[in-house]
Point group: C2
DNA sequence: AGAAGGACCAGTGGTCCGTA
DNA sequence: AGAAGGACCAGTGGTCCGTA
């Protein structure tokens, strides 16, 4: 109802036919304290073997004739494929400089998803149909149909743990506080999500689930080595 | 762990190459007080248009040569495709006569499914993987692998509401008490299932969901016609 | 080099319908 | 005529990787 048109927070900055811009070598380094999940890389190997197929090329909104490119193209007119600006870390209230979006905008998208879920739930209840408790494909479809083309499943899933516990660092670091909470709560990350006011409607990211599992085993090994009580700290 | 071999309760009566047996015209009649779900038949129509494909023929366990049928066949030796005896309504403790299975056996299957689910859950928790709360395809696969070949998804889903509230009648009638409970609880059949000690691990059958929806609308219409308070009886 | 997201894919929930 | 269940199918959760 309220979120029908394209979103105002970011849309004036939507990149269309993004011009080459200077790449500042981001200083976050590569060697991940949090990147390595023991035993997870092996399972991913077989998937890499597949997917050698050619992708379909989707030519979006091309209304001009082929071989003819002197229309009102090249500037900002010809509607090429749009995609949103990359996210950068900002403080609450801070506006992202350059062609970037800040965290306020990211979190705003999560709030919109919640609204869309509630609408889907209300429709389902009215019809006596199955009622989703999480943001499902159905909800993403509904959002897109409602005009929120900038909401998509890979993006929202990608950052969801940052929505739960943002610490001013960024993606990799955002896992850390959630793992720490899981450690205190018996490693039940699903229950933690379901009890969280914002995370409850989101599926637990596989990466976070794996981190909790790895960390649990590490913790159990070190605590049993030191002779502490197993599994239940106190 | 405990339910590995073929089940003892019914297996001695498993029908193999079931001989033609006299069909007693069952006296339950056809016109359904509970069969008609208003507006549901229309949606099912488009599915009937499809599925005109030839099915694969699965020749189970045929070890004898083709064209050669004088082995130790015909009696009870040649392992033809097995299927379980049909269920009939029995009282608790009553043994089903003839080539039939009683409700004790059916309910025993539901208990086995619960056991299999618990085992799958324990494995998932140990591995830090997603942990199912309901009897999923994964659980049925696990049951089959564990030797419980007599457990299958269509059968268990078919009778699940009878497991919840058996009244001594049979399938159609078993919906009635659950709909009555739903009426008293604000028509939230999912919550009723989740709160039920035996039903919690099962998906709500579509049919039951539709019956609750239809009945809710009927109740709402009649109560508003009589001037009563809407939706919330008292 | 790094990020946004279209599109793919294995396995799901649901149940039809060829079979006995 | 009525029931058991193999097998099918649309749409799911999950995320890869061609793209900008």
């Amino acid at each position: 109802d309220t979120t029908n048109a394209l979103d105002a927070l970011s849309q004036e900055g939507l990149s269309q036919e993004q011009v080459l811009q200077e790449k500042e070598a981001a200083g976050s380094g590569g060697g991940g304290t949090w990147e390595a999940v023991p035993g997870a890389a092996a399972a991913a190997e077989k998937k890499k073997q597949r997917r050698k197929v050619q992708r379909k090329l989707v030519d979006v909104n091309r209304h001009i004739d082929d071989e003819n490119e002197d229309d009102d193209n090249g500037g900002s007119g010809g509607t090429e494929r749009q995609r949103e600006h990359p996210f950068i870390v900002t403080e609450p209230g801070e506006v992202a400089r350059g062609k970037k979006n800040g965290l306020d905008y990211l979190f705003h998208l999560y709030e919109q998803c919640r609204d869309f879920l509630i609408q889907v739930q209300n429709i389902a209840k009215e019809r006596g149909e199955k009622c989703p408790t999480k943001v499902t494909n159905q909800v993403f479809r509904y959002a897109k149909k409602a005009g929120a083309s900038y909401i998509n499943k890979p993006k929202m899933r990608h950052y969801v743990h940052c929505y739960g516990e943002n610490v001013g660092a960024w993606r990799q670091a955002c896992y850390k506080p959630l793992v720490a909470i899981a450690a205190r709560q018996g490693w039940d990350i699903d229950t933690i999500f379901n009890a969280h006011p914002r995370l409850a409607i989101w599926y637990v990211p596989t990466k976070l689930r794996q981190l909790c599992h790895a960390e649990r085993n590490t913790a159990a090994a070190s605590s049993s080595a030191s002779g502490g009580g197993d599994q239940l700290p106190f």
